[in-house]
Amino acid sequence: MDRKTARFNTRTRVMVYIVLAFVYLAGVLLWGLLMDPEAYAVDYRVKFLPPGAGHLFGTDFMGRDMLFRCVKGLSTSIVIGVIASAVSSVIALAAGVAAAVVGGKLDSFVNWCVDLCMGMPHLVLLVLISFMLGRGMKGVMFGVALTHWPELTRIVRAEVLQIRAQPYVQAAYRLGKTRMQVAREHILPHVLPVYLIGVILLFPHAIMHEASITFLGFGLSAEEPAIGVILSESMKHIATGKWWLALFPGILLLAAIMLFDVIGENLKRLLNPGSGHE
């Protein structure tokens, strides 16, 4: 087959993608976290400069450097994304495994919670939670963390149900292993690949949602550099032709999200026994 004669096999290519994506995201994250706030300080002498040598991404209405603001904002978004994914995935894993292994009333309850959360438009739920907690970093963090678990829970639960029906799991039960032991030794290891991919694919969602509710004014407040804030500010100036205020932050955000997606999709191919050896 053609694929086998290609210069790089899928596995190598996938690894390259993953490394590239990881370098970009880790780079933005670290650069943002370690950045001196002076880098994007107010400087009224350089208001509305178009992109150029001094300011690669131009400056905004207060003379703040857009490159530094964007990177700082994006790194905040990534932090929120990571934390939210971590929390969501722990909830999802615990709820999914428990529902499937214990079954009965607990299963119904978890399903009920999942339906409840998914029955409401995601963004509305986010806005409600964030607003209730007084917006800001805390509101966004809780909002994003507490609303991303239902889909993953469903996937994990379905996977566990399937594995539990396998003869070897049934055999383990007959041999006198407790539910916890079976879950830990025989079920969890098999759910892990699906789960990991699910978690990685959660990142872009979390980041987009952080940016969205901030854009709508229910998230981070204007004095914090955040992609949502930057984009919503740029809307005020786009009518007068300040295109760079919207374009570059948009591209940065887009790149981050697509790269997470690339990592997730490629990992799926690697970890899936059906396509892992192509």
Partner: protein, 549 residues
């Protein structure tokens, strides 16, 4: 499926970037009326209809148009006239009333009405209509938060052309209410119908009203003070940015813009920066941090350990450079303000001088604020010279202003942390931090609201710095109790000199309202009155004098 959702999200993000551009078209085509009106006006000045299309701010046509429920309580005529109106020099002058006098007991106001005035429905205007309007508002004061008649005991009409008001107690700001409350006809008043189509004596008749979309008015040819020159005016409601784009494509004759747009250019239009009495100031809590009991009996935290030092407040006021702040935050549009503006009869801003950074630093040093640890921020007894200033998140201008002030304060060694939040949050935080406020009204009662110590911890706006000065309180009492308006004015002025030395509010700028106006339209700048607080809408104050060239 996941991929699809992500793709959708991304698509919406990109669409968002284009929003401002297409939003205009979408918003612009509300109803056929607007569209056709626009076609007429955009046909290079040759209009059969003699109409114009205006955008004077977002959301101001949202509520009821009924004067009884507070519509157009701005002190100028629109669909209805009040007894008095505000003149271009901001004094009160007769509108439906020919003359008026106040009895020496300061409780009885007598108005003599003009003759021969008719309502738009053809019925005669008489004293009975005035009595009806005032009594209706008194009965339903809850519906009307713009005209306060709680001090009014009764209103009578001894004859067709005379109205006598009796107050419960002397209250000189009552005169302002008579300039704000538009009179409705007693015979045909219909509370529901007047929400959309009020009938009055005014220069404009409502043709069509769609809340938060558009308002179309037509000239009242029978108007007693001369018919308007323009036949038809359409007001459209949209976003500021969408309105700007619409103006660029030649669809609007007037568009209100934020000061940051003032340096743009639109073909066929010119910029007008109109005088207002609207000032922006920052409240600075005057007491050290402590617990106090509010009017509802709750214990609340009040005060701020930094701003409670009058030296800090004084240093800020003289040390910052207001011109530079206006340049930075407002694109140079606006005038430095040190108090209520001189274009108000009762306004008495102290002659200020700012930009004296060295003197300001000296004041701070003498008061014990010095930068010991070299971080650029002064401290005193372990307290950092730092406080928070809150701005409402729906007004970018106020944030820009606070940020520009913070930059100036930084030079003095004072750190101001600017925060944006919702109004609900601001009402709470305003007890302990600074807040950027906007005030501008003809009624001098605002001085009492801001500086009278009996307002502490009462309302959402009243005396937020918790300022207390016995002399100011006494003078406010005298001003309110004055029988002669001139006497009240002089007392109000005196109050302002009393608090001027203590800077409970840091006055910064007297804003100007910016509009792009079509070159074919003359908005008669000479007869404009100083605009009250009200964003863009007050430009219509003299709309009957506008003409097309």
């Amino acid at each position: 499926m996941k991929k699809k959702t992500i793709a959708l999200l991304l698509a919406s993000a990109m669409a968002a970037a284009l929003f401002a551009g297409c939003g205009g078209k979408k918003d612009g085509n509300i109803g056929k009326e607007t569209a056709s009106a626009k076609e007429e006006t955009s046909a290079s000045g040759e209009t059969d209809d003699d109409g114009i299309v205006c955008y004077v701010g977002h959301g101001f046509w949202g509520g009821s148009l009924d004067p009884v429920k507070g519509a157009y309580a701005y002190g100028y005529d629109f669909t209805n006239n009040a007894l008095l109106r505000v003149a271009p020099d901001s004094s009160y002058t007769g509108d439906l009333a020919e003359s008026w006098e106040v009895a020496p007991d300061a409780r009885t106001y007598t108005f003599h009405l003009k003759n021969g005035i008719k309502f738009q429905d053809g019925s005669d205007f008489s004293a009975e209509d005035v009595v009806f309007t005032y009594e209706t508002v008194m009965e339903r004061q809850g519906d009307n938060e713009d005209v306060d008649l709680t001090k009014l005991a009764q209103v009578e009409a001894p004859d067709e052309k005379t109205v006598v008001f009796t107050l419960k107690e002397p209250y000189s700001p009552f005169l302002d209410a008579t300039a704000q409350l538009g009179i409705v006809p007693s015979d045909s008043y219909d509370s529901a119908a007047f929400d959309e189509k009020p009938v009055g004596t005014g220069p404009w008749k409502v043709v069509q009203y769609d809340a938060e979309q558009q308002l179309i008015v037509e000239a009242n040819e029978e108007y007693f003070d001369g018919a308007p020159k323009i036949q038809r005016v359409t007001f459209v409601d949209m976003d500021n940015e969408a309105a700007f784009s619409n103006a660029q494509s030649g669809q609007l004759d007037i568009v209100m813009v934020q000061p940051n747009y003032a340096s743009e250019e639109i073909k066929g239009m010119h910029i007008e920066e109109l005088e207002t009495m609207d000032v922006r100031n920052i409240s600075l809590p005057c007491r050290p941090r402590q617990m106090m009991r509010d009017s509802k009996g709750n214990d609340v935290e009040v005060g701020n350990d930094v701003t409670s030092d009058v030296h800090v407040r004084r240093a800020l006021s003289i040390g910052i450079d207001r011109e530079r702040i206006i340049e930075n935050a407002f694109n140079g549009v606006g005038r430095p303000a040190y108090g209520f503006t001189k274009n108000l009869e009762w306004g008495n801003a102290p002659e200020g001088q700012d930009g004296q950074a060295d003197e300001a630093k000296e004041i701070l040093e003498k008061a014990g604020w010095s930068d010991g640890d070299g971080d650029g921020v002064r401290e005193k007894d372990g307290v950092k010279c730092e406080f928070e200033v809150y701005t409402p998140s729906d007004e970018q201008d106020r944030y820009n202003l606070a940020a520009a002030v913070a930059e100036e304060a930084k030079g003095l060694g004072i750190s101001i942390i600017v925060k944006q939040t919702s109004w609900d949050e601001i009402y709470k935080t305003s007890n302990t931090g600074g807040v950027v406020w906007g005030f501008g009204q003809y009624n001098p009662i605002v001085v009492s609201q801001l500086f009278n110590s009996d307002g502490i911890l009462k309302g959402d706006f009243d005396n937020k710095p918790a300022y207390e000065n016995k002399k100011a309180d006494a003078l406010i009492g005298e001003a309110i109790g004055a029988a002669e308006y001139e006497e009240a004015v002089s007392k109000w002025k005196e109050v302002q000199s009393v608090y001027a030395e203590e800077y409970p509010y840091l006055f910064i700028v007297n804003i100007e309202h910016c509009y792009f106006v079509s070159d074919r339209l003359d908005i008669s700048v000479d007869t404009q009155i100083p605009h009250p607080h009200g964003h863009g809408i007050p430009i219509i104050c003299n709309m009957k004098d506008w003409s097309l060239k």
